[in-house]
């Protein structure tokens, strides 16, 4: 049962889309509770409802029915303005396609949420640079996206998601557009952040990515079909939901992570 400290609390959330004449039931009575400091992967095939779930969790969309609370705020009772402020303060988004502004240098990308939080420019620049250092990009602060590799761009996007010190990082296929090695770097960064106490929700269909999470929620046809924690998440989930190959053992911590951490240490 969800405790009063639950960061995210969903009760019987339903989402119906009107597609022309037909109604599509994207979420069918989902109940879910995520505590602060959890590391959750949401997996499922395309059309399983995981993106809709993420949009509702990320306050980009409202449930058709049911109750969604984030930090005790009920999304259904909030105005558009309040939702925007909550997105700004409580949630950091990381997207598959990075979604950086085409011509702005990295520190300006990172500064963006602070701009909308109404923080003065001198302070926001300093904080943007600090956050870039945190993701190991202190020296790339003035580089534009076209001058950065895919992995670096995604790290800029992560810095942008972190800059307002959100309670929750919401990543939608964060490694989807990256090769294996840079994807590994990004995942290592996420895990470091989680180790530092950040709540992490990763939406993915990549088994390797999901297997690293402490909790794996599997969705199909708008409903949660399994919700496994700890070791069970990596051993049992594959077998029970039948969506994928038998689960693999957690990957050993690759050398790259150490490298990144060294960099962060130097920059810090």
């Amino acid at each position: 049962m969800p405790g009063p400290s639950a960061l995210i609390d969903m009760q019987e959330v339903t989402k119906v889309y009107q597609m022309g004449e037909t109604k599509v039931l994207a979420l069918d009575g989902v109940s879910l509770s995520i505590e602060e400091g959890e590391y959750v992967a949401i997996v499922g095939t395309s059309g399983s409802g995981k993106s809709t779930l993420m949009n509702i969790v990320g306050l980009l969309d409202r449930p058709t029915d049911g109750v969604y609370r984030i930090r005790g705020h009920s999304a259904g009772d909030l105005t558009g303005r309040q939702l925007a402020d909550l997105r700004n303060r409580e949630i950091g988004f990381v997207f598959q396609q990075f979604n950086l502004l085409a011509r702005a240098p990295a520190w300006r990308q990172v500064e963006l949420p602070l701009f909308y939080a109404g923080i003065a420019r001198s302070a926001s620049r300093r904080r943007a640079l600090e956050t870039l250092a945190q993701v190991g990009l202190a020296e790339r602060a003035d580089h534009k996206p076209e001058e950065l590799s895919g992995g670096q761009q995604q790290r800029v996007a992560i810095a942008r998601a972190l800059v307002n010190r959100p309670s929750l990082l919401l990543a939608d296929e964060p490694t989807g557009a990256l090769d294996t090695r840079t994807g590994e770097e990004v995942m290592a960064l996420f895990e470091k952040l989680h180790a530092e106490g950040l709540t992490l929700i990763i939406i993915t269909h990549d088994q390797e990515v999901a297997d690293r999470a402490r909790r794996v929620i599997t969705m199909r046809d708008g409903a949660i079909i399994s919700d496994l924690r700890g070791a069970a998440a990596t051993t049992a989930s594959g077998g029970t939901n039948g969506l994928r190959e038998p689960a693999l053992a957690p990957l050993p911590r690759p050398a790259v992570i150490e490298q990144i951490e060294e960099k962060v240490y130097e920059a810090g």
Binding site: N55, G58, L60, D61, G80, R81, A84, D85, R87, N88, R89, F93, F95, N99, L101, A102, R103, A104, R108, L112, P113, F115, Y116, A117, G118, R121, R160, N164
Partner: protein, 412 residues
């Protein structure tokens, strides 16, 4: 002030697409430059004409006959203004506010000197004419009282006439012939400098008696020679109206007009002339500016078009900004200020161009007037271009706010 913070965002966005931004601004640039330049021309021309009219004295009254309305001579002047009227008006007892009364009889004549000849507007007048009309002499002197009473064969000519006949302007003492009769040149008028209003460069002046008695075949009315117009000077600018009434009274009496009859003459003052010129140039300027203003509207529509394209192009950016916590008002202001910056920049460039044009015109020698671009016109231009930005940017900006962040983020 949070509003100020959107300006760097707008500048970034404009700077990242310079080509498109400058093409968009072109409409506003051309519109503002055209309006300001035309206003400047109108004002400059008006000032120049008014200045010239004023330099000829603001106390002057000109009495001319009205034109026949019916009968054989319809359209030609009524032949009732005579030398008798001139003598009567010169009586200070009945006309205390009239100081000088000068008759004129003018016609076009062939002037000959050696093998050269020139078609000249020759006016028979009196010595006071130079005072009343504020004529300046370049050479010699104007006609004297003695020459008027003796109807001497003397002539004062304009510079153009002098150079046409003698190929030089120092021609005092030379002789010109009118109808074979020799006239001695006693003076050459100062050059007016331009082809503007009231130039005497192509005129000649002879004693009124000579014009009436010898040169022109002048008809008489009630025994007195007819004149083509009478100029008079009022005591002061304030007494012009009083002088006008006194003249009107005398002339009505002398011409035997009944109470119900209209005047067979008209009196125009410099003041009324100034007013007329002001109205005419004002109307012309307004007309031309309205045409130029159309280009501003076209420019504004160009802005709207580009902003709509920009909103569509940046759908994903808008979605992202909303996801990162932008309020609807943030998105609205961002796009509104972007179009405002675009039009203001265009407006400023347009102002610079029109100032450049004014500077250029002022450097052209002998150009009859300067472009006058006032602060009010510049402020208006800034206001109008900013207004264009806000009005034409509003719709695209509203479109941007209506984008659903989920759809926008997914947009490719």
């Amino acid at each position: 002030m949070k509003l100020v913070r959107y300006f760097p965002v707008a500048f970034d966005s404009i700077a990242s697409n310079k080509m498109r931004a400058s093409l968009t601004m072109l409409g506003i640039i051309i519109g503002v430059a055209a309006v300001l330049t035309i206003l400047g021309i109108g004002r400059g021309a008006s000032e120049s004409i008014l200045g010239e009219v004023a330099s000829q004295g603001t106390t002057r009254l000109t009495i001319s006959p009205v034109t026949e309305t019916d009968g054989e001579g319809a359209g030609s002047p009524v032949q009732t203004l005579t030398m008798g009227d001139v003598k009567a008006l010169a009586d200070p007892a009945f006309h205390p506010d009239v100081v000088e009364v000068v008759p004129q009889y003018a016609g076009n004549l062939q002037l000959v000197a050696g093998s050269n000849n020139s078609q000249v507007r020759v006016t028979g007048t009196t010595a006071a004419y130079a005072d009343v009309l504020r004529l300046e002499m370049a050479e010699g002197r104007f006609l004297t009282e003695d020459e008027i009473t003796q109807m001497s064969n003397v002539i004062v000519i304009g510079t153009t006439v002098a150079s046409d006949l003698f190929e030089r302007t120092q021609v005092v003492g030379e002789s010109v012939r009118i109808d074979g009769e020799p006239y001695t040149v006693v003076g050459v008028l100062e050059e007016s400098g331009n082809a503007g209003f009231g130039s005497n460069d192509e005129s000649g002046f002879i004693p009124i008696g000579a014009a009436h008695g010898r040169v022109f075949n002048v008809p008489r009315y009630r025994g007195e020679y007819v004149v083509t117009s009478i100029s008079a000077d009022a005591l002061s600018e304030e007494r012009v109206e009083a002088a006008e009434l006194q003249i009107e009274q005398t002339l009505r009496l002398r011409h035997g007009l009944n109470a119900e009859d209209d005047n067979d003459f008209s009196i125009s003052t410099q003041a009324s002339l100034l007013e007329t010129i002001d109205t005419v140039t004002g109307t012309l300027t307004l007309l031309l500016s309205s045409i130029a203003a159309i280009s501003l509207v076209v420019g504004g529509i160009g802005i709207m078009n580009i902003m709509l394209v920009s909103v569509t192009e940046r759908t994903k950016e808008i979605g992202l900004r909303k996801a990162l916590g932008a309020h609807t008002s943030d998105v609205l202001l961002q796009f509104l200020i972007e179009s405002l910056v675009l039009t203001l920049l265009g407006g400023l460039i347009g102002i610079a161009i029109s100032y450049g044009a004014a500077l250029l015109v002022s450097r052209i020698p002998n150009f009859s007037f300067d472009l006058l671009i006032g602060v009010d016109a510049v402020l208006m231009a800034v206001g109008v271009s900013a207004g264009c930005g806000l009005v034409f940017g509003l719709y695209p900006a509203m479109r941007a706010t209506q984008l659903d962040p989920i759809e926008a983020l997914r947009y490719e």
